[in-house]
């Protein structure tokens, strides 16, 4: 076998929540038997944004905030790949907020793992959009699940906690399956404490609450999901689980042409195309 890069050891601080996230992704890839060379992991910039170095797959280090558009480009160009985007809460909710909205809207079949620690880790501790309160203002924190619920097209909204591996693993597998089945955008927010700048293990362990355990919880009911997320948040809880899942059409399928491969694998040789070009040119004849 050709020797390619060996996934390196994570460079995170001991105890960082991101370790759990990495393990869950590795585990889920194994669970669904996803071949490494047909997988691409893209990460944003941040401590979270080094996760691609630690997973056996094709890897890409995106620009800060741009991991979702980049992942979309990969998926559209080669729909056969399993595309996993990952990044921090600064990356996804601050500089990347607009792209997140539009990814919910388009619903391409990619997985997005947002590692939420309420802080900018790599730049040493500034507040992120999910920080509980931004001094000296009373700015409230963004809730990614509610956001997804507000956007038609969103098809998979889940939250897990890095400190609760079982649920995290289950959610991650479900997310990969959602994307693998071409059902659209699988959004997984993982509460992933930053032990160095915002150590929230104790606090979050007491707050996480699996909504899906409620009697008769129906993950296809958008209004009910909104209501329970909102209500739990008001009570100071952090709702987790596969909160919402629906059957909105996936973006890449709309571009698919019957009988033709994805753009990355098309035949672009002159033989197969020149007549077509000549026909186009003829329209400009003068």
């Amino acid at each position: 076998m050709t020797i390619t890069f060996t996934p390196s050891h994570p460079i995170w601080c001991a105890g960082c929540g991101h370790f759990g996230v990495k393990n869950a992704i590795v585990n889920a890839l194994a669970t669904i038997n996803q071949p490494a060379h047909e997988t691409m992991v893209l990460a944003g910039i941040g401590c979270s944004g080094t996760i691609q170095n630690n997973i056996d797959s094709y890897g890409y280090h995106a620009l800060h905030g741009r991991v979702l558009p980049t992942a979309l480009g990969v998926k559209l160009a080669n729909p056969e790949l399993m595309v996993i985007a990952a990044g921090g809460d600064g990356d996804g909710y601050a500089i990347g907020a607009g792209h997140l909205m539009h990814t919910f809207k388009r619903n391409p079949s990619i997985v997005y793992v947002l590692m939420n620690n309420g802080v900018y880790g790599l730049t040493k501790g500034q507040r992120s959009p999910t920080a509980q309160q931004i001094d000296p203002t009373t700015e409230r924190n963004i809730d990614g699940i509610s956001l997804g619920l507000s956007i038609p097209g969103a098809s998979f909204l889940a939250r897990a906690y890095s400190g609760a591996a079982d649920q995290l693993n289950a959610v991650m597998v479900a997310a990969l399956e959602h994307a693998a089945a071409g059902r659209g955008f699988a959004f997984v927010e993982v509460m992933s404490p930053c032990v160095t700048y915002n150590d929230t293990y104790a606090e979050w362990s007491g707050k996480v609450h699996d909504v899906t355990t409620a009697d008769g919880y129906d993950p296809s009911d958008r209004i009910a999901a909104f209501s329970s997320v909102y209500t739990l948040a008001e009570q100071g809880k952090i709702p987790t689980g596969l909160i919402y899942q629906s059957d909105a059409p996936a973006y890449e399928s709309a571009w698919k042409k019957p009988g033709l491969a994805g753009p990355a694998r098309l035949d672009v040789s002159p033989a197969g195309n020149r007549t077509h070009y000549a026909d186009i040119m003829e329209k400009y004849a003068f």
Binding site: F5, Y60, P270
Partner: protein, 592 residues
Amino acid sequence: MTIPAKIDDLTIMVAGQGGDGSLTVMNVLSELFGRRGYHLYKSRNVASRIKGGIAAAQMRASIVSRGCTGDQIDLVVAFDQEAVTNVGPDLPPDAVVVFDSSDKPLDRSTLADTIRVIEIPFGRYAVRDLRRDLFKNSMSFGVISQLMNVDQDEAEDCLRQTLRRLPERVLLPNIDSFVDGRKFAMDDAIAAGGYPWHLERVTREKHLMINGNDAVAFGFMAAGGRFFAGYPITPATEIMEWLQKHLPAKGGVAMQAEDELAAVNIALGAAMTGVRTMTATSSPGFSLMAEGIGHAGSAEIPLVIANSQRAGPSTGMPTKPEQSDIDMMIHGGNGEYPRVVLAPGNPGDGFIIGAAATNLAQRIQGPVIIALDQAVAQDARSVTPFDLEAVEPDDAARLTEEDLAAMETYRRYELNPSGVSPWAVPGTKGGMNLVTGNERNEWGLVTTVPAKRREMMDKRAAKIEHVRADLPRGVTGGDPAARIGIVGCGMQSGVIAETAERLNAAGTAVRYLQIRTLWPVLEETADFIRGCDHVYVVEQNSEGQLMHLLNGHGAFGNLRSLKKYDGVPFRCADLVQHIINGEAKAVQGDAA
């Protein structure tokens, strides 16, 4: 009655209040001139708003192919007083003005007495309120075809061809208006002053009528381009629209992103999978893409970026041409990375450069920028058909599963003398790798070790040397022995060629160079400049960016800047005058 002038070079302007379809008379005229074998150069001059405000279209019809509009407007068709008032002082003495006098008669105060004016109350003739603009257009075409002594059948045929998509019930009254127009011209104008012109019938090979935006998009597709992501912006939107029309049929994707940051990053993602990818924008959008383009350079991702420049700074004048992003295209974005900047001089060149850029991006695994300006991008002209046979997608250093199986190790950023590392795209078995915009080692793992950093910087820089010999060469012309040079690119190409022709004809020996590779600065450019006593650098900006670029990169001291930055292209007549004046001064200077 004077003898009608044979038309060998005529510039026509149609002007009115803006709005869709108000200037379709130009299309009928194209049809007519095209059939007669003329070459055409067409430009539009619109305000950045949908309706209202002066809009004007210009067309130069000539027997010799020309790359710019004429010095002066010979025929004005005006549906609006403002247009005549503005353009009046610049008209030649033998110009003809056709004016819509429905509202009130023409105020001739800005017109010389010698100018022939034909006032037609279009309103009275084209009263049907359905598609009023169209009737105006048909009628004015009737007038013009008569003035040019074209017989009714041929002219009518042109009109029918142009309006062929209209339902019969709309077409017929248009034909009536056309006939009315011919009659009016005959009764009122020809009777009084004779035919001003006589349209020739010449032969030329089959040509294409196309603008630079479309041609660049076409060149990209012909070189195997199958992925595009962009965002609407004047004057670049046609590139996106062309590809949205043509790529999906071939399985490609051409998508409108939510903004330019998304566009360039979607493009980066796609390009990483191996599909040939382009994005396109205009100046402010290019500013926004600076980070992404630098990432292509750093992470070594092949990407074509077209910039159809508008007049700046900032939002500037979206519909006006300028070449004021030269510095930004070459130097924008943080840090230093290899890039190529190419500037087509016309739509034919646009096709060639669109294709060349697509292959070059693959070969350097990095960003290749196509520098258009609003004039090259949106002016349509007749060009010789594209040489489709000459275009061959170049697969460069792509690795297959089989290649990989035969390799002991595979490193994405392998160091080698060409600087171009063999490339396994995602999905290729055995080729797993890491791509990043941080400094890295051969495996793609982040490093800051000084020696590795130097190697990686040198590797990336080497890629330009690797393709230098294949970068598009400039076009030269004029008197090869001349000591006076003229240099320009893009929208100046047609102007400097015609200026050189006139100067040489007038006894001032000049030669010219149309630069097609702006960056890197080619040795041929420095050679050309060194070979002249002095060189006029003609550019559409206020700082003389091209001149400073050439000064900064090897051409020292003998450059003279000719700049224009008012949104209006140079006219050949002015350039000729500038240079003649410049030389006169130089001679005086020599004497002193």
